[in-house]
Symmetry: C2
Subunit: 340 residues, 2 copies
């Protein structure tokens, strides 16, 4: 059985023993100082001497060796897919990473495109994360949750449109987006509402639940919803616009602002007055939508939780084994402009 390679394989790689020698302290002291262990009393002067010696030698602790010794890691793994994520998602990820780092976790993202769900779970488990915050949906199976838990993950959490059985869930329930858009259109007196379903790979994960929310809200008011498949291409939009009057719709929720801009242009080019004959609303509240004439109405989305997500993850890691929790993060507000 091999030992931890505290002796460097390359003569130039500094070790904690080199730091201890230079600082005139024990290796245990070096470990306590550099791992910010607060349970041991070490003078500020000694801490400074250790840090300076580490800095002079260019020594940094070895995260994997430390977690092997400790029996657990501080790595939070954020698997990513090649799904075009909106600006909201990007900001959320950025804030989550900063907040987790402040709680002394190491956060890494892992691009999982091209792997199936079970392959992906095994690849994540090889990194022995203490927590996994995964897009849910098709990306995580009961088998995957089991593999991760057995490999030592204290918390397996989904972050996506739908929860997955057996995992904690940070839910961005896309139904509220469709529901909000349709409620706005109903309030404007519209009754026959098209709902765009984007045909690009991966987007059904968001488009389908937006349709479900739209339909539910429309039917509760006795109104009608019509799904409208659309590719993000001018030709696809022109085709839809050319048969628009046969559809008998007076409004459309166009999935998001980009699809709404595409469709509104096609409707205008086909001579359909917006909003006179058809009201249009998107989602994401992009600045570009305000540049159109008429200015594009939109649904603004915000992510909020009773507890900051990073603190929630930390709590689930420190108290593993409880019943799966569900936290709804997504809030939606209509932003009416001129197109609806």
């Amino acid at each position: 059985m091999s030992q931890l390679p505290e002796q460097p394989t390359m003569t130039s790689v500094p070790t904690s023993a080199d730091v201890a020698r230079l600082a005139g302290v024990s290796r245990a002291t070096v470990s306590y100082v550099l791992n910010n262990n607060a349970t041991v009393r070490i003078s500020e002067q000694t801490r400074r001497r250790v840090r300076e010696a580490a800095s002079d030698l260019g020594y940094v602790p070895h995260a994997a060796a430390r977690s092997l010794r400790a029996g657990h890691s501080r790595m939070v793994l954020l698997p990513t897919w090649h799904i075009p994520a909106g600006p909201l998602h990007q900001r959320f990820f950025h804030a989550l990473q900063s907040d987790l780092r402040r709680l002394d976790y190491t956060v890494v993202q892992y691009g999982s495109g091209g792997l199936d769900a079970d392959e992906a779970a095994r690849a994540w488990a090889e990194l022995r994360p203490v927590a996994v915050v995964s897009p849910g949906g098709p990306a995580l199976t009961p088998y995957g949750i089991d593999v991760l838990t057995r490999s030592g993950a204290k918390a397996v959490i989904t972050l996506g449109p739908q929860p997955v059985d057996g995992a904690h869930a940070l839910v961005m329930d896309q139904r509220v987006v469709g529901s909000c858009a349709v409620a706005h259109l109903l309030a404007r007196g519209r009754r026959r509402i098209g709902v765009v379903l984007p045909q690009e790979p991966g987007l059904a994960l968001f488009g389908e639940p937006r349709l479900v929310g739209a339909r539910r809200t429309a039917e509760a008011a006795g109104a009608h919803v019509q799904p409208l498949p659309l590719r993000y291409e001018e030709e696809s939009a022109a085709q839809l616009a050319s048969r628009w009057r046969t559809l008998g719709l007076d409004a459309v929720f166009a999935y998001n602002d980009e699809y709404a801009m595409l469709l509104m242009r096609a409707l205008q080019d086909a001579g359909i007055p917006v909003p006179g004959e058809t009201a249009v609303i998107g989602a994401d509240d992009l600045m570009l939508g305000r540049l159109l004439r008429p200015r594009l109405s939109s649904v603004r989305m915000e992510l909020a939780a009773g507890q900051a997500p990073a603190e929630l993850i930390d709590r689930l890691v420190r108290h593993p084994g409880g019943t799966p929790e569900r936290h709804d993060l997504l809030r939606a507000t209509a932003v009416p402009r001129e197109s609806s």
Copy 2:
């Protein structure tokens, strides 16, 4: 000195010894099979038995333990910053991750926002990556390169607008974008060319070299370039448009398509005919730019290399210590439409 924790800390965590017992083979055989070691002859039947036993037990190898035993890791670290990256960048990252995985590397991204350059390098070094592919510029210093190399990284590579001394460089030279845009405007007979400098944090890294390229190409033709600071806000664009005629410009390269859409709308609202009085060109070739009237001219960017970037990284890892290499990836082509 602690041993590798082959004995599980939780009784439910399966080990390679459990797999060996179930499959009726030695632990060495389990290791050879699950690590795809091709240098040892093992029958297909035995390989299948080992894989089935691992699958039944939910066992996956421990990447960190394996790299501690091997003395090196297969982790390629891609640090990320919170800079809004274009679609080109996202596609490139996705392809790079897939290609590196096919070469048996584990690719992880590490969000480094909020850390200074030296803190970031130490945080990366803790993960003991075999290669780091970092955004260059302010994000990597000679100290950082030294820390990473001493911690065992075989290749430190920048991926960004500018190379960094001492590291290999995959250069996306933004000057070619400005040069290409201005060459197009000159060919259209324009001589007094504004160049938008986006004022959002992080974008100077791209905006400044685009201006340098624009200026160089303009001056070589005896034409004039005027830097135009612009925030991504309607108010900022309206202010710029309100003093447009005092600037005496007949064209503008607006950094990218989003800023171009913003500025073109403001120019039109201020009564400046586009392209009659002022030609406008963006960059990124977004579909949305085609929806405007006039349709927006753009610069299309492509990333190309003589050698696939993943193979290049693999070669640099397998032959460390050579002179820093520079590979230029960015190609730019003007896409003329109606606005120029």
